[in-house]
Amino acid sequence: MQLPRGIKSKIGTLPGVLAIATALFGASPVRAGDGITLWYQRGGTPEQQQIMQKDLVEPFNAAHPTTPLNLDVRASGTADKQIRMAVISGKGPDIVMTPGPSTTLALAQSGHLLALDDYIKKYNLDKRILGPVLRTGEYNGHNYALPRTFETMVLYYNKTLFDKNGWTAPKTMAELNALAEAMQAKNVTPFSVGNGDWRAANEWYVTVVFNHFAGPENIYKALKGEIPWTSPTFVQAIDLLNNWYQKGWFGKNYFSLTDDQQALLLAKGEAGMAPNGTFNFDNMVAAFKQTGQELGIAPFPSLRDGVPYPTYEIGTGSTMSINANSANPDAAAAFLDYLYSDAFYDRISKDWPGDWNLPLTSIDEAKLSKNVSPLFAATATSFSKAVAQGNFGYTTWTFWPPATEDYLIRGIEQVWLGQISTAEYLGKMQETFATEMAAGKVPQLAPR
């Protein structure tokens, strides 16, 4: 019995088919004339994707019809890894979006990103982006990444609940303690927090105690390697955080609550405050809209004498770079020019306040208030002013090297659950940090 000739010939051509399939799956970089690509790394609901199309893609493409932007929204959580893998294999999008400077650093060190200095000069981006934030993208005297988000930790609170009880937003540690005790006496959870859908939320609270207890000056020294993370000030900061957890300030369901649930608990008045990022403003507004209560925002209190109030820690939750293998770097730079324009900022802050909080020098409360809620306008402006005046701290997700950051996130759970002591936690953090510092993985800091 013989196989039919057709099948035999198909078997014979299988290697050829495989070769074609391999060529198809190994997507090549975008060629000149095809436009430019951006893989949006943080995911987005259908509504948010529509906003990006309307505010980001359509206006840019209308102005640059020969080099249109192709936006590919990728799922949050894994997209940063996909982008990194694509870029280091010489492929990937023209505009490289990363989750922060520590990721950018490795790509810049290995020559996968284009130095942006000439484009920064051409488009005056150094005058349009706040200096201390812009410098987070520097490596060896060149800038490789522009900060897309400009975020900080603030204290959200339920203003309706506060007004009803005659409470005011705390500015000091003593006030915060008194307030939390008063809340617990009324069966109100002091902090609506949780990591049910985002384990890395742990680092928000470490960021808070490091910046508002140990203070930005000490963090700066530690990140420079001048003092260890085991210094008494950091020990006291972590002890303080652990104390909050043990006293029940974080509620009973910290490891279960999702972002939406935390916002809703605060909006219902079951919790009084929420240390959270400006990036969650949208969530908070949506939750308060559901309950009809009023949202309040204040800078996080100073937790120790000598730490100024207000202090805003700088966070760059994502950055924008140009792929060294891009066939259209000029078009990619033109996109960055549009991204950091007042025109785009006005559009996006109206439709999606919080996430696209670009660190523009032109942010002005009066102008912003026309488009966004006065709360957001006041917070964004106050944050910008503080940074411009040099009164800023450091978020762990922006300035810590990757392995140290990962340990900081996981290890703090061991402290909270009584598995290790503060000294052990910080000892391991210092050990990991020292290794990464020696390997050149700590993002460069601008002088204070």
Binding site: M1, L14, L18, I88, S110, Q261, R410, E413
Partner: protein, 308 residues
């Protein structure tokens, strides 16, 4: 030596006796069949496997030039207490999956064999969770069952039954994740065992029943011995799959809280894609492969015995 056509190839070899008289294939003809699969195996299995072995001996962040460090990566993982807790979790996971779904699958298969009415319906119902996407299953359990605000746990709390989210407690997180995977998995075993049971010679079953065997006796002395090769294969594959467990753990807990549900594959992933330390990640992957290799060794031995 004579060459054979494809028709003869399809009949080759049926038995050891056939093998002695089997026609010899021309190398060129045989290669046309072997080459595609061989190429795929080389490109997507052999080369990555060899690269993983090589990476276990270098210091590399995935971007820069790798530097040879010998056994340093193994020293790193053996000095990490999380490695041993993850290994222990994998062993616990294996023991759970070697027992609970096996028993459930066998019991359900027996019921399907005995009760003919609605058999097709129940087969579909048992198998349904297997074809639902892992992330969807995990999110449903996380949000609609375990969650203390939106899930069954939260609903019970409203009715005076206070439970805690098992994913949130270090003592229960691994079992909570395993429960979700069990729910997703056991139906597959039920269907496989049922298919095997249907192949058992009905004369054997009739004889046993005529001899007055009870259902348990029938199971113990006739059915299970008859499907032992299938059960053994599933047990060996369970060992291999248990050391590859990743998806449910990653989606539900990411190894937390406090590393309590960390398994070797999530640890390897964390080393590679959070810490950007590819060397220790590859070293952990080799440990996983080692356990898979042991299971494969037993599998091959059993197969050989069966073939002889």
């Amino acid at each position: 030596m004579r060459r054979c056509g494809a028709g003869e190839l399809l009949r080759y070899p049926r038995s050891p006796l056939d093998r002695q008289n089997a026609p010899h294939l021309s190398l060129g003809f045989a290669m046309r069949f072997i080459l595609p699969a061989l190429l795929i195996n080389i490109v997507i299995i052999l080369i990555p496997a060899l690269l993983t072995v090589a990476m276990a001996f270098v210091d590399w962040d995935g971007v820069s030039t790798p530097v040879w460090v010998g056994f340093e990566n193994f020293r790193t993982i053996f000095a990490d207490p999380v490695f041993f807790s993850a290994l222990l979790n994998n062993i616990k996971w294996t023991l759970i999956f070697l027992t609970v779904p096996m028993v459930m699958g066998l019991a359900a298969a027996l019921m399907l064999l005995v009760v003919r009415r609605g058999r097709n319906f129940f087969q579909i119902v048992y198998f349904l969770p297997v074809i639902i996407a892992t992330v969807a299953v995990a999110r449903v359990w996380q949000g609609m069952i375990y969650n203390p605000e939106s899930g069954l746990v939260g609903w019970l709390k409203l009715h005076g039954i206070v439970l805690t989210d098992p994913l949130a407690r270090p003592t229960t997180s691994l079992y909570a994740v395993a429960t979700v995977d069990l729910w997703h998995w056991w139906g597959f075993l039920a269907v496989i065992f049922f298919a095997a049971l249907r192949q058992v010679d009905s004369a054997q079953i009739d004889s046993a029943l005529l001899d007055g065997a009870s259902l348990l006796q029938l199971m113990r002395y006739v059915l299970i011995p008859a499907i032992r090769p299938t059960v053994t294969l599933m047990m060996i594959m369970t060992v291999i799959w248990s050391f590859l467990a990743f998806d449910f753990v990653y989606v539900l807990t990411q190894g937390g809280p406090a590393y309590s549900s960390e398994v070797l594959s999530t640890l390897s992933y964390r080393y590679a894609f959070y810490n950007y330390t590819i060397g220790p990640a590859a070293a952990v992957a080799l440990v996983i492969s080692f356990f898979g290799l042991i299971a494969t060794f037993f599998y091959v031995r059993i197969q050989q015995r069966g073939g002889d």
